[in-house]
Assembly symmetry: C2
Homo-oligomer: 674 residues x 2
């Protein structure tokens, strides 16, 4: 009769514990489980957790919720692999007390047997090992009162219910029939993993005249403006030497001219491979200076980790065994039949020297980590052996658990999810292709309100060097504003690729998502100081992200509301007061639960998805989800973008957004009238 307490639905647990759930050091982690046993006896639960390398468990009581669910919350305030367990046991004292009180309330006259049994419970517990010496007398005193016929019955009942007695018994429970769950792992990242605004930039374009390369030195000129826009992470495509063999020309033409710089992802030349910088950009010291200057501006530099080689990469001659050889002895280049990518040699993870290869790749990461880089955007991880990622991320984390990895996979859902399970800190998403109200609602709801939120941290990008979505190709400023506002306000992690603020929108040809004169194949110097730049709009979004906790750290606090127009999208983000031991006054991201408190802060975003026409409609707000229980009470909505304020009442209110006059998005701060 071991494990009498049944435990199911323990959360956050990924694939039964095969993988770690994720959190950051400022997240409020809610552990929940369904605990029950046979019969009518009451069950109690606790969570115990320990930090990375910790030698002792810390225990938290779980609160009972409806339907046998128990919950506890804590903030894992240290980076690394935390562990937790759920404990369950029969609460004999509470079961006894419940019966006593019911009988007393029903007017049962003789409770002496009940009192005797309660006293015995206390005495037995006091005699055990679980109660510290200084508390034993409290239990013994209570037992004596229960037995004391001179004390009136109602006073003995009150003595049994005394708060301080309860406190002792909660702190030192009687758990003869303790059931303990397996130990689960919670991987805790630094906060940057959960909240980041990325800006992607090719340094070679900054300071270029279009024919010669910009450098790490010239690129420093952009740092102040990028930081002023409020970005946190500056992501650089590969900075390594670029191969000559089969180098691509402008607009992906097959023949490059002598001045064409080539594709940064065709890594490696006589000047070096993955641990070298392109001589045109400067030296490693120049790189260090750039990283330091970025850091001073408030930008953390992220590098690209692209496991592939140009035919001129040093590994091709030093380690030909790391590449797949064809029947004629040639090295296999990348193909997607009938397309050929002769400038790229994929690495062969079926190589006999898999150990040597893995060590070398890990060494590449360590090389840059030693130079202060702690974020890697990983190129096409879904075309590399997945066991490698699980191994290398774990290896790197052994030494520096603060290193972050963003998975650049745009492929089928199972692979996207698996990469996150295997250890990637953040993941690209389908956001770029989700443009309608229905698409956005479905997709964001899936990311926010299914189990994937336990391990998959989405990073929303309205554009990338590979993706200029048709939605943006009209060049409408409203389109660009709406898409970046959705990215920045829906997802705690988002990013954009340089030029977006300038409304760059011309595709290489109709129907293509490639940019005309793509920076992937050419220098692309830009004048950022033009009137049509939406940099101030983006700066305001990032300012809101930093000043409103509800936009921090967790996608789970998003909630979609009705609005009677298919071109208008309405969603809210709310934060509720924390119910966490030692985190007084903090905020808990998270969907409002039936027994949850009233939100501390509420934003309602309404976006016009039609960049060409004014759209109007009546809202159908979920007032309960907003914590606005009086459905008829008036409240102010203050637009944080324009500064306008309206007084609204109840769920139904009129909204009109005209892309030709004003912003295409409202970001309303709700202010209930007091």
């Amino acid at each position: 009769m071991k494990n009498r307490i049944q435990m199911t639905d323990i959360s956050p647990v990924v694939d039964g514990g095969r993988f770690a759930a994720k959190a950051t050091t400022s997240d409020v982690v809610e552990v929940s489980a369904v605990l029950f046993r046979e019969g009518h006896d009451k069950v109690a639960g606790a969570v115990r957790h320990r930090p990375p390398g910790g030698d002792g468990w810390r225990e938290l009581p779980m609160a009972a919720r409806p339907q046998d669910r128990f919950e506890a919350r804590f903030v894992p305030d240290e980076v690394g692999a935390w562990e937790f367990q759920v404990l369950g046991w029969t609460d004999h004292w509470a079961s006894w007390l419940d019966g006593l009180v019911k009988k007393h309330q029903a007017g049962v006259a003789d409770l002496s047997l009940e009192f005797e049994e309660g006293a015995l419970l206390l005495e037995r517990h006091a005699a055990g090992d679980d109660v510290p010496a200084e508390q034993v007398s409290r239990l013994e005193r209570a037992a004596a009162t229960l037995r004391d016929d001179a004390v009136p019955v109602h006073q003995r009942v009150d003595a049994a219910r005394a708060g301080d007695l309860r406190q002792v018994l909660v702190a030192h429970p009687d758990r003869r029939d303790l059931t303990t769950s397996p130990t689960f792992t919670l991987w805790v990242d630094r906060d940057r993993a959960g909240f980041s605004a990325w800006y992607e930039m090719f340094p070679r374009s900054v300071g270029s005249d279009g024919r010669t390369s910009g450098t790490f030195k010239t690129a420093q000129s952009r740092l102040g403006e990028i930081a002023a826009m409020g970005f946190d992470v500056l992501y650089l495509p590969p900075i390594h030497p670029i191969g000559h063999a089969h180098r691509k020309g402008p607009n992906n033409t097959l023949i490059a001219g002598p001045d064409d710089p080539g594709v940064p992802w065709a890594i490696g030349s006589e000047a070096g491979g993955h641990t070298a910088v392109h001589p045109d950009l400067g030296t490693l010291e120049d790189f260090d200076d750039f990283v330091a200057a970025a850091g001073e501006a408030g930008l953390e530099v992220a590098l690209d980790f692209a496991i592939q080689c140009s035919p001129d990469h040093p590994w091709v001659t030093e380690h030909p065994e790391w590449f797949r050889h064809r029947a004629d002895g040639s090295i296999a280049y990348a193909e997607n039949p009938p397309k050929k990518y002769q400038d790229i040699y994929p690495i062969d993870f079926d190589t006999e020297d898999i150990d040597g290869l893995c060590e070398e790749l890990k060494g590449v990461l360590e090389f840059w980590i030693d130079r202060g880089i702690r974020i890697f955007r990983v190129d096409n991880p879904h075309t590399k052996a997945l066991p490698f990622w699980e191994w290398v991320i774990d290896e790197i984390h052994q030494t520096d658990p603060g290193v972050l990895f963003l998975a650049e996979a745009f492929t089928r859902p199972a692979m996207m999810r698996q990469l996150a399970k295997l250890g990637f800190s953040q993941s690209y998403t389908y956001f770029t292709w989700r443009n309608t109200k229905h698409e956005l609602t479905e997709y964001v709801t899936e990311l926010a309100h299914t189990d994937s939120a336990d391990y998959y941290r989405p990073n929303f990008w309205p554009n990338t060097p590979d993706i200029l979505h048709e939605y943006l190709q009209s060049g409408s400023p409203a389109a660009f504003k709406v898409r970046v506002a959705l990215a920045a306000l829906l997802s705690p992690n988002y990013g954009m690729y340089s030029g977006y603020e300038l409304l760059e929108h011309v595709p290489v040809r109709p129907g293509s998502e490639e940019y005309l004169d793509s920076e992937k194949y050419a220098y692309r110097p830009r004048d950022f100081h033009v009137d049509h730049s939406i940099a101030p709009f983006i700066a305001r979004l990032n300012e809101l992200r930093h000043s409103h906790r509800v936009l921090l750290g967790d996608l789970r606090n998003v909630w979609f509301h009705g609005i009677e127009n298919d071109q208008l999208l309405a969603f809210s983000k709310t934060a509720v007061p924390a119910d966490v031991d030692g985190v007084a006054g903090d905020a808990v991201p998270g969907r409002r639960m039936p027994d949850g408190p009233v939100p501390l802060d509420r934003l309602v975003v309404i976006a016009n998805l039609d960049p060409h026409h004014a759209q109007e409609g009546m809202t159908a707000l979920d007032m309960w989800q907003l914590g606005m229980d009086g459905v008829d009470a008036p409240y102010d909505v203050h637009d944080l973008l324009t500064g306008h304020t309206w007084t609204w009442q109840g769920p139904r209110n009129y909204v009109r957004l005209d892309p030709s006059a004003g912003e295409p998005v409202h970001v309303f701060h709700l202010r209930p009238h007091l």
Copy 2:
């Protein structure tokens, strides 16, 4: 780089393999998994399974479905614990062939290197251990053709795609990088577990004059009529001696008169306990005769297994340690404070002699199994220690895997599900309290279309001796007909308690779900030959259940359809042709899948949930789910209850059901015009 193939979402798997999924010997079991790997290479999958005690695996190829899903189906045609695994590997040949065909179709002129590599693939595989000697030459011949420059290119491409070559490679695949899932258990019951109609009867009432007991002999008189109604299982409440101490009188009064028979669940007297029969009912030999007579009539007898004792039970004196003793030395009776059940002593699963107790309880089951009983309805299993159930069901199944257990738990959802996971073959449900369209749709959808369908087999009861639902208390024949029709047609397992066919509907008091003059406390002789009996209606339902495969064995083939009236409920049951090796022409229960075939048989049930008024409305049938792709094509609907036929067209058709004229339910057999 082991386990290169990623495997997720393997089904049917319960709690990661902690518990067994369930099937019956006539179920078509669909094993599915999401299998994928990095890059563009193709993945192949297989399921291997073995019967109970089998020494060899049988392997089935899995078919590829969208989104990396793979499926295989088989019929586990033997009772007991089956095992299965999912296998995944890279299909190098298919990957190569795909590239070849794409290049050929794109007009690539020189394919000699591709042909050489294909030939090498075949030769390497032929040289391995996986290909039987007689097939090696087929591979070598294909390799030679691929290399033969004298053969035109298109013929070499055709040779690579040849069906017989593919057959050899599918039967004997090249799986150097085989990944194997853990081994999962599938518990296979005899068919009765998946398809049964239960009739509950107190033998003591049959042949009673109201003051003296009927017997096993007199109760035989009912067997023919029960069998004629089409029931499969005859369930008897406890048949054991009934205690005298604190015996309850009629209508649960505290004092029994000298002729009051007491509650059958107060088990045990000087005449014996759980392995005795009540002397009033006859002898063990009379019981055996009754079981034999039932069997001859086509009825399998199910007994009640109620682990509790009257104070007069022999165990109370022989094994006082099996009961909980209070502080004053008395044995604790059952309580739900402030209610007392002094006629019942619960068993104490915290007894020191837990081993002796468990063996004795198992012995009770074995005693009745030895007398030919193989179905037990278990009384209140959720008040007994759950580890006991897991142990005892497994122990019994070691000897006789055909023994079935029905869990009579009406409690919270987690407990209901857990009992099913621990081994119960069937489970009572909330059906009795789900009466509205919304309630029925939500609840049946949950049972049919969530993971619980893998292990939880619902048994729907419109009434029990404890539950006369308010819905029935008007006594309307339409109410009784609708509820039994829903039970019988929605769920493959259902049951009813004697008297239902006579429309017994008077509660002990207003607001109570207890019957007036409940048979639990008194003899209740009945005249079954009255005009208002709905026995013929019930007989017709059971006849339909036996003659339409779509009503067999699995709840998963239910699908709710729209109908524009909240009092009308519409659902269908369909069967699609089996895609199972060796099960040609059979039928697969199951919701229609996007790539599924057209159903072989289709029933559409439309019920008027309002027993007092005529209701009418337009249907909104999901024609695709019905496999009726031509939405405008006419088809006949033939009512299997009344014999009427109408011609319908498309999804929208008029329905009117009048409880005062005709049946309150249509059971339509759909017949598309050819």
